[in-house]
Amino acid sequence: MISGAAVLLWGVAALLGTAVLAIASSHGSGSGTRLIYSLTLGISAAVLLVLASRVADDPVTPSTAELPLGLPWIGAHFRLDALSTFFLVVVNFGGGMASLYGLGYGRHESAPHRVLPFFPAFLAGMNLVVLADDAFTFLLSWEFMSLASWALVMAHHREQDNARAGYIYLVMASFGTLALLLAFGLLAGPSGNYTFEAMRAAASAPLVAAFVLALMLLGAGSKAGLVPLHIWLPLAHPAAPSHVSALMSGVMTKVAIYGFIRVIFDLLGEPAWWSGVVVLFLGGLTAVLGILYALMEKDLKRLLAYSTIENVGVIFVSLGLALAFKANAMPSAAALALTAALFHVLNHSFFKSLLFFGAGAVLTATGERDMEKLGGLIHRMPLTSFAFLVGCVAISALPPFNGFVSEWLAFQAVLQSPDLPQWGLKVMVPAVGGLLALSAALAAACFVKAFGITFLGRPRSAAVELAHEVDRYSLAAMFTLAALCLLAGIVPGLVIDGLSAVTLPLLGSRMPVQMAEPWLSIVPIAASRSSYNGLLVFLFIAVSGSFAAFVIHRFASHALRRGPAWGCGFPDVTPAAQYTSISFAQPIRRVFGAFAFRAREKVEVPAPGETGPARLTVEIHDVIWETFYLPIGRAIDFATDHLNHLQFLTIRRYLTLVFLFLIVLLLVLALWP
């Protein structure tokens, strides 16, 4: 019988074939677009079916495949185990939804030949990363994925700032791959065996393990968007077409997280306790800074990209907790934390895809990403706005939707941590728990702003007046995701039980079986300690809300009259007098801005008698860009300026340089202990 991994490789081959087909047919117009997206949709669905049969059959036993490609005497190894099955579901479900959305959205594409070939290639790259079972295949697929997504970022390369976004993305992606390369080099050790099998068997020295962790945080962390390596993300993700933005934010960051989990939890062996502290700290910082940046943003797609950074932070907090528990031999608590992380991975892929699809729909309908020029779209695009609202509620971690469940599991994991013995963890965990709570509250604020400014209020520009609802493919994709957000929120036990196959081989433990609980509650440890039932919460709200509405409409008044809004005596106030995205964020900027952005407000009021306008200037600094990246950029500029004259030496001097360098190398060799 043909193994699971081999079937999936056929899927990847089909995706690559689609990419080639797209190159051949991309000059044809609408029909080519439809063909390519139908093919990717079909392949994703087929892969999902294969994965589903595998999950139903036996998700735990790994299935392997080997291809005589790659380095001559190594070959390319592929492996499908529970962890990669889970991430393949995320990748292919996201890919399928993006294809479905692309069926409608792709028709508005101005340069289809720059999108169509790379879209299937990007999907193939992500599939390959998750399937890879040796370092060479992993790195090659990783680079392939990065380059395919880079090409998609550059699809509209003539638009302002997109070229810069692509350049920064390329630099950061190369840097990340370099870090990964070194990490795998350390893992392979002096024997140089690059299969994951051998790395798993070999035990790393503590110092080596520390370097591997640091390099993985740099490599996978830069792809996932960990602060301070996130700077490319809010530039690159919004620059791509919206369904690709959804894939990059909702899925590619997850592939990076997969890489991190694969190396740190699977290949590296027992972690040191302080690795938990490092990951927790970075995760907490990323969550809070990501959402604060999102709050300051007025471009809808960039806001979503910054919110991705926040969610990656939340996932890393849970991963850090899992590491801390694993290091202290608390497997059931570690399983709880890892389940929370993986659940959030799934949730984020749902709602972030949904929100980017919604932003794409707004972009198609109005041609605007700037929220200051939107508003009132709920009247023009009722269906899109409803789906977007579901996404906003879900991402703000509010019950009864799915975002809350993973957040809740993370909090339950935090509450397990007083039993940890190390003081570093004892102090770090409650502080990070507070940061997690802060980021959840700020996320709610951010998405009140995103929905309120974009869809509510009165139109702020003429483009909005002409907007109309998007096509049915886009709506189908959005509503499928919205339904899943609700479903995963009210039957979380299903997801948690599915994830037990992933945590069991990695940690040797799993969360208790949830689907056997009465009323489909979820109970992480014991019913007397904590439980949550999304289904009943949803039903209670629905029933009591309808009950109230029924009683009032039946027994009290149901009269209704339309009238103008209260304008404090000023008739016909212009829509410009509404709150804007900048003014909405002003109170929060005053509270957090001074420390996070060195924000300053300057008010210029003209002297009495002058007729000039008063001005309010707000100055916001991207502190991380200014403190980390600008100095590095300046140093590189300085060095290149001064090394420039090395290009114009005589042959004698070049020979001298080469000779001197040789001597230096020999000296190093001689003096090396």
């Binding site: 709920i378 009722p382 609202l389 509620v393 703000s396 019950p399 809350f404 809740w408 909090f411 339950q412 509450l415 007083p418 004892k426 102090v427 965990v429 409650p430 502080a431 507070g434 802060l438 959840a440 509250a441 700020l442 709610a444 009140v448 309120g452 509510l456 209020g457 019913a527 007397s528 300690r529 904590s530 949550y532 039932n533 009943l536 919460v537 209670f540 709200i541 009591s544 809300g545 109230a548 509405a549 009290a556 008044s557 009269a559 209704l560 009259r561 339309r562 009238g563 103008p564 809004a565 404090c568 106030v573 509404q578 709150y579 003014s583 909405f584 964020a585 109170p587 929060i588 509270v591």
Partner: protein, 318 residues
């Protein structure tokens, strides 16, 4: 039979919070008025207000959307469900495991999310100012509240409110620094969440400093009645929460009979009266603060709660 009885007790709790909520607000208003040497409105004035609002027609702004019309019912439902999940006269009711304390806090967050959206729906500056300030206050109050929940959960070993209340009523608790800090922080958060003085003034419509009232300025008739009712329920919810955690005496246990239920109900009324009087005295004694002093106020609550949690991480007996 036992199931029917349990459901009856659960239903009684839901109706009890619904019926008592306006009374508590009326009581606080009455006490405040008496403290100022005024006669004050009657105790049942809030009920009359609600009935009057429900009978009136709704005047809807021209560009109000469906969200604006659905929100009052959503807020009312979410707040009612949250309030009914807090033990009032008995712990361990049939559905008490539906949501733990974290989920109850998040349910209130859902209600606030929709209220803030409704404030922005009509597109007036008043709604915007209210919503933006509300989310600023929430962004500090919610983490503070969750850290308080952490403290309680670490002391009692559970986030399940029934278990927490039962533990707090047992002699194992003793006097703890962390619980004291949590109590102070919880009171501060409760004041902010319910838009009471010094954070917001529930009895004004004409100040630029207002938050909650600014958001609901466009509401009228039955919609306003629902929102007002939700506000009454929220006050009752916080008072019930404080009293069931910090004044857990008289709560009927899991296997209690009618007698202890009656005793629990009487004790609950006593606790409500006590907290109502304390709130009225507090509100009368201090002045409203500027809106940008609120972050300091809530920041203090946040720090107290964090300190309480940290203390518990240091030693479980503090």
């Amino acid at each position: 039979m036992a199931l029917i009885l349990e459901l009856a007790v659960q239903g009684a709790q839901m109706m009890l919070v619904l019926l008592l909520a306006p009374l508590l607000t009326g009581f606080v208003r009455k006490v405040k008025a008496r403290l100022l040497r005024r006669q004050g409105p009657s105790l049942i004035q809030p009920y009359r207000d609600l009935l009057r609002l429900m009978r009136k027609e709704v005047v809807l702004a021209d560009n109000a959307s469906w969200l604006f019309r659905v929100t009052p019912y959503l807020i009312f439902a979410a707040t009612w469900v949250a309030a009914a999940l807090i033990p009032t006269f008995a712990t361990g009711l049939t559905f008490s495991w539906t949501a733990d304390l974290i989920a109850i806090v998040a349910l209130l967050g859902s209600a606030r999310f929709f209220l803030a959206l409704a404030g922005m729906d009509v597109g007036t500056s008043f709604g915007g100012i209210g919503s933006s300030r509300e989310v600023m206050i929430a962004s500090l109050a919610e983490p503070a509240m969750l850290l308080i929940v952490f403290s309680l959960a670490l002391v009692a070993g559970a986030t399940q409110l029934s278990t927490v209340a039962a533990f707090m009523g047992s002699p194992q608790v003793g006097l703890r620094v962390s619980l004291g800090m949590s109590l102070i922080a919880l009171v501060m958060v409760a004041v902010a969440e319910n838009a009471r003085i010094p954070v917001d003034n529930p009895s004004t419509h004409l100040e630029l400093t207002m938050v909650h009232e600014a958001m609901i300025l466009e509401y009228s008739g039955r919609h306003l009645a629902m929102i007002e009712f939700a506000a009454f329920l929220k006050l009752l919810l916080y008072v019930s929460l404080i009293s069931c955690v910090f004044l857990p005496w008289g709560l009927a246990g899991v296997e209690a009979g009618p007698k202890s239920f009656a005793l629990g109900a009487v004790a609950y009324l006593g606790k409500l009266a006590l907290c109502g009087i304390l709130l009225a005295v507090f509100e009368t004694a201090i002045a409203k603060m500027r809106v940008f002093r609120v972050p300091d106020f809530l920041g203090a609550a946040l720090m107290l709660a964090l300190l309480g949690t940290l203390l518990l991480f240091v030693s479980r007996s503090l």
